[in-house]
């Protein structure tokens, strides 16, 4: 029930209503008798009509009408057939006047029309009446799309209709929506008559007048964002970054431990299993990464690479793809350099979810060489507790060549002039708007436009970017619109991370050498992004090289996207806002992860788990719960209590885990986790016996 006042009923209303109720009940039981006995006489039809005119929501009566039509159609008299269908249309019209939100009534009309016995010429006139009465009624709009396609009315004519509706009142989200549908169709089907650039420029002007008339009215907001997307988006899939990156040199030492090139000795999985990850990072989710679309040439290659999407979902598409190069059976010669060439997109088959083909063949060439064994034997994994204290880290003045800190080498194809011009013009007009009025959509649009401009001018000039201004806009928005402050904070975090990771120079202040107390000679690069008020992680395309990452003391709730960081071996997530184990889902695909600190978070203190469906699990039908294994490992522990932890940790090989300071981390949890993680040497900073 909607929009009915709560006031108590007066006595006479009540008696009137109960009389009405009794009448309706009699009507219903007569109707059900007819329905049961399949009586479709005119008298019975009139009775069901009366019922539907009183209560259009009685769906069984609409079904009965359809049965009646089918039954009575057997009488072939054409006049009668015409009458029959006319009668149905009239009834629907009456029912809709009673309740124009009745699904059953609208569908009955569609059903009648699709039988092809009635004229559709009057439908638009009828519809215009309903749309005038309620210009946002989505049943009417749906029906309009149905009728116009049935009568083959052109998209151009419908586009004019939406213009008229918007002209009468710009505050009509339904009309803007329909415009986006019609234009999308026209861009696809009549690309020559409807050149995207010309139309998009007109549409900017069109929607601008709506936004500027009343900046608080949301009708044009989403349409405007859609236009920005149409202007700058690369629809074709592109490779954004890779590990190893093009031109890099990777050194293995005699023990087959990989080091140098930012690869530390910590990373023992790589040496244990003698495999080398290869990661491809695209600008959007793609499918079709396989032997025929990605060619790898190297004398090191003894078996075909198996490409896997790095994703927790069922779909075969992913933005990041990985494969492991197996060096296991190789006798690598000392001081010899092996070259590896990966060619992507030389043949068709890499496709985005919208059906666009990868169109920019690209080659990644890198070298691998073997050096004499390290002077010092590699200590067994987990031999020492990893300490994240400041005094274990040493600032870096400049990177060594061998550090090979990589930032994504974006090779975005040059954008057309009109894109740049369109965005710049929008920026000017939104600056004008803001000089008159401090509205949130003005600031938000400006922030988005500046970000878009930086994206398309990226390859021309990195220094002239607008990051500082964008960060300031988001900070202002947090204050201006506190209800949505965390949305702006998330955006702020992403922009900040883009800035920090944009180049080797910008990364330098955040990189440190990790020196553990006993091993002064070896040092590994750790990326320290702690204490930055980050509420969200991003820019993973620039972080594929990272093996040790400190994200502690931030406001993170999720690590979505971290699955791309296949080299990661030590991760500090302590003192954040993680609310459940499912949040850690992305870690499941990190084969190298050994050290994990999740202390002082909120795991176990929330009754509602917001990552429940983003994590691969039986709930999402992405995984079968391994009950047998669970039972063997965990015995008496309740599955409903520990399934999340079981799912996350079961596939990991951690040697060092810190989970203190979480509501979940009681004694039961401790004895449970030790069973799930047999590789564990350190738990909560204490050595396990």
């Amino acid at each position: 029930m909607h929009g009915q006042p709560r006031k108590p009923l007066k006595q006479e209303d009540e008696s009137l209503l109960s009389a009405k109720a009794a009448k309706l009940r009699t009507l219903q039981s007569q109707f059900f008798a007819n329905h049961r006995d399949r009586i479709y006489t005119q008298e019975a039809l009139d009775l069901s009509a009366k019922l539907l005119e009183t209560n259009p929501e009685c769906y069984t009566a609409w079904n009965y009408r359809k049965l009646a039509v089918q039954h009575n159609l057997s009488r072939s008299d054409p006049d009668y057939v015409a009458f029959l269908f006319h009668q149905e249309l009239k009834l629907v019209e009456n029912a809709l006047r009673k309740n124009y939100k009745s699904y059953g009534a609208w569908y009955h009309r569609k059903w009648v029309l699709s039988k092809g016995h009635s004229s559709i010429d009057d439908e638009l006139r009828l519809l215009n009446g309903f749309q005038k009465a309620d210009s946002r009624n989505f049943h009417a709009w749906n029906y309009r799309r149905f009728v116009t396609s049935l009568m083959k009315r052109s998209d151009e004519d419908e586009l004019i209709y939406t213009e008229e509706v918007i002209g009468e009142n710009f505050s009509n989200y339904s009309a803007w929506h329909n415009r986006s549908v019609l234009l999308s169709n026209l861009f696809k089907s009549k690309a020559e008559e409807f050149p995207l650039e010309e139309k998009v420029l007109q549409e900017y002007e069109h929607v601008r007048s709506a936004i500027f008339t009343d900046p608080d009215d949301q009708s044009g907001w989403f349409y405007h964002l859609w236009l920005i997307d149409l202007t700058v988006k690369n629809y074709a899939p592109l490779l954004v970054s890779s590990w190893p990156s093009h031109g890099s040199n990777i050194t293995l030492n005699g023990n087959n431990c990989i080091y140098g090139c930012g690869l530390s000795l910590l990373n023992s999985t790589l040496s244990d299993t003698r495999t080398l990850p290869v990661i491809l990072y695209f600008n959007q989710a793609v499918e079709g990464i396989n032997l025929s679309t990605v060619a790898v040439k190297s004398e090191l290659l003894k078996e075909d690479l198996v490409w896997k999407p790095l994703s927790t979902n069922n779909s075969s598409t992913a933005q990041v793809w990985g494969a492991y190069l197996n060096l296991g059976n190789m006798e690598l010669e000392q001081s010899k350099t092996y070259s590896i060439k990966i060619t992507i997109g030389h043949s068709m088959g890499i496709v985005s979810s919208n059906g666009y083909q990868y169109g920019d063949p690209y080659q990644i060439a890198f070298k691998l060489c073997v050096q004499t064994a390290s002077t010092k034997p590699v200590e067994e994994q987990g031999g020492k507790l990893t300490s994240w204290k400041d005094n274990n880290f040493q600032k870096i003045d400049h990177f060594e060549d061998s550090d090979s800190i990589v930032s994504a080498d974006l090779h975005i194809p040059t954008t057309s002039d009109w894109c740049m011009k369109a965005i710049e013009e929008e920026i000017t007009t939104f600056r004008d708007l803001l000089s008159e009025e401090k509205c949130k959509i003005g600031k938000l649009s400006l922030a988005r436009l500046l970000t878009a401009l930086d994206l398309i001018t990226h390859q021309h000039d990195k220094r002239k970017n607008h990051t500082e201004e964008v960060l300031k806009l988001y900070t202002d928005l947090m204050e201006l619109d506190p209800t949505h402050s965390l949305y702006y904070k998330d955006e702020h975090s992403l922009v900040l991370l883009k800035q920090i990771t944009s180049s080797r120079e910008s990364l330098l202040p955040y990189c440190c050498y990790y020196k553990d107390a006993t091993e002064a000679n070896t040092s590994y690069v750790c990326l320290r992004l702690q204490n930055l008020s980050l509420s969200r992680m991003g820019s993973f395309e620039n972080l594929l090289w990272v093996q040790m990452l400190d994200l502690s003391h931030n406001d993170l709730r999720s690590i979505e996207g971290l699955e791309a960081m296949q080299l990661l071996s030590s991760l500090n997530l302590s003192h954040n806002k993680f609310g459940s184990f499912t949040v850690l889902g992305p870690l499941r695909s990190l084969k190298s992860l050994k050290v994990l600190d999740i202390s002082y978070n909120k795991i176990g203190s929330h009754s509602i788990d917001t990552r429940r469906y983003l994590c691969s699990s039986p709930l999402a039908n992405t995984e079968v719960f391994a009950w047998d294994r669970f039972e063997i490992l965990c015995g008496s522990f309740s599955a409903t209590k520990f399934w999340e932890a079981f799912l996350i940790f079961e596939s990991l090989n951690l040697t060092d885990l810190n989970a203190t300071g979480n509501a979940v981390a009681d004694e039961n949890f401790t004895s449970f986790i030790v069973k799930v993680l047999p590789t564990l040497k350190w738990l909560n900073s204490e050595e396990l016996a």
Binding site: M1, E57, N178, F222, T610, S616
Partner: protein
Amino acid sequence: MEELAAEKHVRYILSVEKKKDSFESVVMEHLRMNGAYWGLTALDILGKLDTVDVDEVVSWIISCQHDSGGFGGNVEHDPHILYTLSAVQVLALFNKLDVIDVDKLTSYIVSLQNEDGSFSGDIWGEVDTRFSYIAICCLSILRRLDRINVEKAVKYIISCKNMDGGFGCTPGGESHAGQIFCCVGALAITGSLDLIDKDLLGWWLCERQVKSGGLNGRPEKKPDVCYSWWVLSSLIMIDRVHWISKEKLIKFILDCQDVENGGISDRPDDAVDVFHTYFGVAGLSLLEYPGLKPIDPAYALPVDVVNQIFFSKTSTNVIK
């Protein structure tokens, strides 16, 4: 701030069932199955499901199943997928799924999938993404999802995605919070949430919160308690619920209570009904309001009921 008048709501829900002769309840008779689901789930969240006569409810539900396997909204009413889901959900609440003919029910749902992956609501052929959700949710609860073409079903849902990141009833249909819940829920249950632009949809959804703290279902519409469910559960499934103010929404829902006679309405001072009482209570549960059982955002059942289905020894036996 007002507090949740939990006891009054329980009494209100139990009383509705007894007012069978009011005009309102006669008009609503055709969706009594939905009503049973709303009322009973609300009672369970409030911790009072044990006040209900289980056998009476279950035998009434059985009497609503047709030979086709589908359920009607009430005895004598035709079968439709809308009521079939409610029947399955109520039986799941009572852990009584074994009392019905699951094979027959499964083939009913399977028979409603169309060539393009979409689902019809019944034999008459109305197509809507609501029905896609219902089919997927039902079959997943019954552990029979492998009986339909999931890939095609997902493709159809994605074909209903709009420029604002939301979803409509059919391709080209305008985004609507209720419809978005159905599509996001179906994608969640099929492990396909990666096909959603979470930031774009999240922004559209979080902008549903208006000044009063309530949520509306489409831009420039009035807030309504039922959207506390549709919008909130969608935001939770895509992990963007922190983009709205929970405190303000809690206040709005509590302001819609009838603190004297129990029940919750669409907006403050409107007439209460079971539908909004359920969505108000379920919304508060999603907001982690103290004293309420947590509810699952995709299956729209209490978390303990869902866990019992998916994480117990018996559940694995059912998997084919």
